[in-house]
């Protein structure tokens, strides 16, 4: 797949931003669901979408989706703190629910699964309106056991809707290894049952992710219907920051750490002569500074006042 240097650097930047955010948020929020090791999936999937495309991101990576679509970092971080300056003035958390003005569908309750239906509905709206936008529905390996997954894929296939389903398969759900919670080895194996293309890919290879997602998006834009991509990666982090229970073999974690997607991509970029180490370091620094500044601002931002409770603002 042809891609220009700008795309490569944008992908790198989104991965670096994801990591920088991860570190900064972990410091202030013990309940943050980190995504160390999974940056290639989220950057690869969320980069290069059009404004009319609709995204229902997996909660782990929701902030990356928002950043990838142009949301403001300070407002997002304010949303993590519930500040009045956040996109919803503190009514709801930004870490699992992105600003809808960027065509993001979040977790409005905390239940995993239903957003696949909302993405399917967005695709239906797209089709009814004759747009050539697409919906992207991303979910975890654990979430793939929910009936919502089955129904959404089956319905998207039956109605030939422009949806791309991506499993952010970090091979674990809280403590449950995918091998226990997800019966087959690959979630992509399910595609045949829905009569749609299924792709199992290396989720630590950002270009594999990006290329495959873009290919599936192109197919959907053409009106050829949904696809299912199983991007296999690994949750190097705990389930959330203060999750100290770790039952996986240390060697396994180390093996995956050695396949760190950012390090892999850095090596690739340097080897291909796209950029040198020094300039990569500059990107890293710029991103970190941006995050630090946004965080400092968000922290200083005001808390919401009682008016935000908005007892009469439930109904439109």
């Amino acid at each position: 797949m042809p891609r220009d240097n700008q795309t490569l650097l944008d992908l790198y930047r989104l991965m670096a931003l994801t990591r920088a955010l991860d570190g900064a948020i972990a410091e202030i929020d013990g309940h943050w669901h980190g995504l160390e090791g999974e940056e290639a999936v989220v950057a690869g999937a969320y980069h290069g979408l059009r404004p009319g495309d609709v995204v229902a991101p997996h909660y782990r990576g929701s902030l990356t989706a928002a950043c990838g679509r142009g949301a403001d970092l300070r407002k997002l971080l304010a949303g993590l703190l519930g500040k009045a300056t956040s996109y919803n003035r503190g009514r709801y958390r930004s870490d699992v629910c992105g600003p809808p003005e960027f065509n993001l569908i979040g977790l409005y309750s905390g239940a995993l699964g239903p957003p696949l239906a909302y993405a399917t509905g967005a695709a239906l709206a797209i089709k009814l309106d004759g747009r050539d936008d697409v919906a992207l529905a991303v979910f975890g390996d654990g979430t793939s056991s929910r009936g919502d997954c089955h129904e959404a894929m089956n319905m998207a296939s039956a109605l030939c809707l422009p949806v791309v389903f991506v499993c952010q398969n970090n091979q674990i759900a809280i403590s449950t290894p995918a091998s226990d919670g997800v019966a087959p080895r690959s979630v992509a194996d399910r595609a045949v049952g829905y009569g749609m293309p299924g792709h199992e890919i290396d989720g630590n290879d950002v270009l594999a992710v990006h290329d495959t997602v873009q290919m599936a998006i192109a197919r959907a834009r053409r009106g050829d219907g949904p696809s299912l991509i199983d991007a296999v990666t690994y949750r190097v982090a705990g389930h959330f920051v203060s999750d100290t229970v770790e039952d996986r073999p240390p060697e396994e974690i180390e093996r995956w750490r050695a396949r760190d997607p950012i390090a892999l991509f850095r090596r690739y970029l340097v080897e291909q002569g796209v950029i040198d180490d020094g300039d990569l370091g500059e990107i890293d620094q710029a991103v970190s500074a941006e995050v630090a500044a946004a965080m400092a601002q968000a922290k200083a931002d005001p808390d919401p006042g009682p008016d935000v409770l908005g007892l009469d603002r439930v109904f439109a």
Binding site: Y87, P99, P114, L116, Y118, L124, L128, D129, E151, M155
Partner: protein
Amino acid sequence: MARQTFQQATVAAIAEEMRRDPDVFIMGEDIGKFGGPLHSCLGLWEEFGAEGRVIDTPISEGTFVGAGVGAAMQGKRPIVDLMFLEFLGLVVHQFGLDGGAMHYYSDGKVKVPMVVRAKYGVGPFHGHAYDFHSWLLNVPGVKVVAPSNPADAKGLMKAAIRDDNPVFFLEHMGLYHAGREEVGDGDGVIPLGQADIKRAGNDVTVVATALMVKRALAAAERLRNDGIDVEVLDLRSLVPMDEQAVLTSVRRTGRLVVACEAIKRGGSANEVVSLVAEEAFADLRAPIARVAPPSVPVPYHRELEKLYLPDHDDIADAVRRVMAA
């Protein structure tokens, strides 16, 4: 003006709104060429099918209701035919918890203008009678409509479709094909949240919706012979509830009976009772009475079903009780 059944009036409202607004579409199981169970969508396929606006879905309730939510977020105005209210438990998360919260949680940026319609109630169709609408009163952000006659069904369905929130629209199978009544052909939107006094009276207020309105009216006729003058207040929508209308009536009559087809324990009748016990206590001259089925599953044999469901005698008895107190 035309004489229409509840089913016809409801479908007419949908068709008129689909003509008026190209963003309105309808989906559900077997609602296309088949016309929908009990003719719930009769004729829509013929008129709007070719435009793709009448969509047959797989048997995937949570997901097609969820798809309604997702399409509404994109600016469409979906009507989802759930077939039976009995399936509410399969969709309440998507429709209620998520669909109802989006406008609030997004600080007004997301709107979810959608209607879920569902048949229910003891009637000629023998099954799927369960009435679980009461749950929805306890879910923030969703509206609940339960018409009692064809004209109201039409006007309320139009309002529901034009509403920018998730609206649950109840279609009682005991009323569905139960006879034609005059229904206006004009726009005739009936705003949600406006109760209607179906019979004015001075001695006692009976609050009801749907089939229970019919039965309350029958009870009122009988009670006239006993010299009891009953006011029958049809809430029409349970959320929003026309609290003023209830309070005004009860303040005048001093007595309240609430009739409801959901089982008594935890039913929506309780909201009316609580409103009055809080706000109009000083004007109450007698205990409040609820008339509702016992807290058992809907039994099957028609005789048991009759015992289960309150009829005009049960309502009349309750009225006599509060009059005697």
